[in-house]
Amino acid sequence: MKYDAIIVGAGHNGLTTAGFLARAGLKTLVIEKNDYVGGAAVSRELQPGWTYSNCSYVCSLLRPEIIRALELPKYGLQVIPYESGATFDSKGNYFNYSSDHDALRRELIRNNPEDADGYERYARAVMRQCKFIKPLLMRTAPDPTSFNPRDISELLYIGKRFYDLGEREMAETVRFWTMSIAEFLDQYIKSDLVKVHLAGSGIIGTGLGPYSPGTAYVLLHHYMGEVDGSIGAWGFSRGGMGSITKAMALSFQDAGGEIRTGSGIDQFIVKNGRVVGVALENGDEFYADTVVSGMDVRRTFIEHTEQKELPEDFVKGVKRYRFRGSSGKLNIALDGMPTFPAAPKDARFLKGDLHFLDGMEELERAYDDWKEGRWSASPYVDFLIPTQIDPTMAPPGKHYATIFVQYAPYELANGTWDDANREAFAKTVIDKISRHSPDFKNLIVHKEVRSPADIEREVGLTEGNIFQGELTFDQLLFNRPVPGYAQYRSPIKGLYMCGSSSHPGGGVMGAPGANAAREVLLDLGKKIDLGAAA
């Protein structure tokens, strides 16, 4: 069968590209290897009555332009912000981060009288960097080696924004992009507990420690989102992260698109340097002159493309591109709300993201374990119970806990990710949480444990890297995924990339998908419709 365009992989980026292409009038087919859509933005009911956000679990980065243009609210998407969070230390204290300015100041002062002012300075510094980088998200990164007028004007655009910062800020920005999160925070914050709370966003999903250069940028990546103009705010997608991709799929199908699940692609079919279609594992073949891959760059070009079709330097670039999975995940069905003796009863911050750490050294040790091929003995966890806010994910009075775990290696020094290791990994995490919430363990009804290897197998994220490749400076902007190929096109004519391996990177953002759609349509002499209001 012949289509105008085929998208491989129904992750949120693939579905975003598909949505825009279908709306531009292209007869579009989406191929997904799993029986369900969503990729790493998926919700599944593994225990009757409970819905998990199996991989990603909080939403902030998803671009409002995309939500609007694809009419996702009409197809059931509701993003609900949450208000605060906390880090508990082992001595019975906690730091409560709150979106309420007054409460936050008071809490900072409680932890260290100077940190209230220090935090304001920190927040301003981050916001300034954010303001600089954010407009670049929904734009195609320029190729600095090209003389194409569009590339030059994009470079000028970035250059001007950069120049407008002024000399001192320019230096700050350059420093910021290569600094470690620990170093960055040391400039502003005194309290260890406050520091380590803020450091979390700098290491999530990355194979870097809090003292590794580049982690300040990773923090920025997590600040780039917003919930309704509230920059850096995070929320839940009602019904789990799968509601995002479910809405995208419905929107796409309403626009005439077709989705085939249950068999992945085996090969991109290439003839005379040009893609002509895809061959599935089940033997089916589908044809189109435009094929867009939502898989990560290694999967796309090393596993599913014949090497002879690709220039050698490109293949080298792809092989050099770093994944390095570093995260695991536990999804747990709870029989009731666990208690946290160090927190006041009904503390509002229990509704937000909880962490359990004493300071930066503990984080760094957690990272050392990973380098040695072990999961962290005392890991960083991002622990949330969304069912306190989302009434749809568990029966009333019952709860769902999502536990993101940093660090867990893709390859274990002591063997493979078999059931015994997976269970031992879960025990490490649950034991740590239990030290702060003694009744947690006994409330567990069901759990799903996911190692980087599980994430790779199920979602197809190579080595389990949650961003489809590390977010380090050498792999960002015009370097993502490979210098010279940062504009969603590949060496093979008609074959494009739209996944998180491309600019501006991972997270449930949709920007790579929308940017890729723009480039595809441009090549077909059409224009992306971001809605009259964009």
Partner: protein, 401 residues
Amino acid sequence: MNKALTPRPQMPMGALPAPFHDRIAAENVQHSWMNWNGYASPGVLDTAEFEYFAIRNQSTLFDISPMCKFRIKGPDAEAVMNRMVTRDVRRQKPGRVSYVIWCDEDGNVVDDGTLFRRSEDEFLLFCQEPQLLWIKDIAWGFDVEVTEATHDLAGFAFQGPTTAATLRDLKIKEIETMRPFDIRDIKIAGKKVMISRTGFTGDLGYELVMAPKDALAVWDAVYAAGQLRGVRIIGYEALEMARIEAGFLLPRVDFISSQTNLRVNRARNPFEIGLDWLVTFDKPHYNGKRALQRLAGVAPKRKLVAIEVSKDKAAHHALVYHRKTREVGFVTSALWSATTKRNIAYAWLEAPFGQEVKDDLWVEIYLQREIEWQRRMERVMIVERPFFVHPRRTVTPPLNF
């Protein structure tokens, strides 16, 4: 000295506590109160955004006691109501609510409200503006008794996707069969409650009305039952966000009653406001009918339209331009709609703009950015009202969330 000369009480100034005041005050950490018809009504309890999201995600309580309320009772009650409002009240069965407007002799809107038909011969009318005299004037010569019930009835809106589940937990079986705009008489905490499936939010929800002496018992029971499902007390700001999304208009904000305007050209008829669907001519004479029949045949001189604005800054108080130069109207209500991720507003536009001419319309938005003011021209698209209504609003029996 004349012994009869004892001091008579002087009327208090300002806002009085409404029936649920103590419960609301306990949660009102911002100490934010507004004056609504002489009562203290919460503006925001802690954060308007989070209160708003409770409307769209969980459940919310909002005190509606300060609304103006009237009881119309007697053999001619139906005839009087039918003579007053523009809809056909004869078609409204006992146990049903309808949204109504009423007009003056020129066909201009006096007010809008919700009309509860309690029985063949009894109605309750809830509205924003005092209407005792207006109703009495209409009732003159009819066999009917019109009384003000504003202070005799307390009430609260219970709105949001988990409201039905909470009422189920309270064993209110009646909700299973209640369709939108149905009324039932139920008991909560042993107290008599009139419950209707109505509200101002475009979402699943109910309004509960009871005697003031029973008010706290009912509130407490619902609040306690709602705990597992995330109930939250909300203020006016949050409700305002939901009401704009849901396409409801607010007198004194989006239009002004023809009984209160000083400037004669400020009165508005239903065709201008976009409430044509509430006007029927297929019924006996009613106030304004003749004028409305005439107005129905001519193009409105101006229209209140729903608009979408480019970018994400709400167009509060903005003027509307054609081709960025000619002033053709102004915005009344504006909102960045968090649920639809659209920048929405209502605007009055002079004909032919918003009617035949819909292109090249712009709003002028002023933004203060760290003291400095910026002026932005943003594109205007004429769209349909409402901006958002969730399907769960009407599903019967109602869903659990």
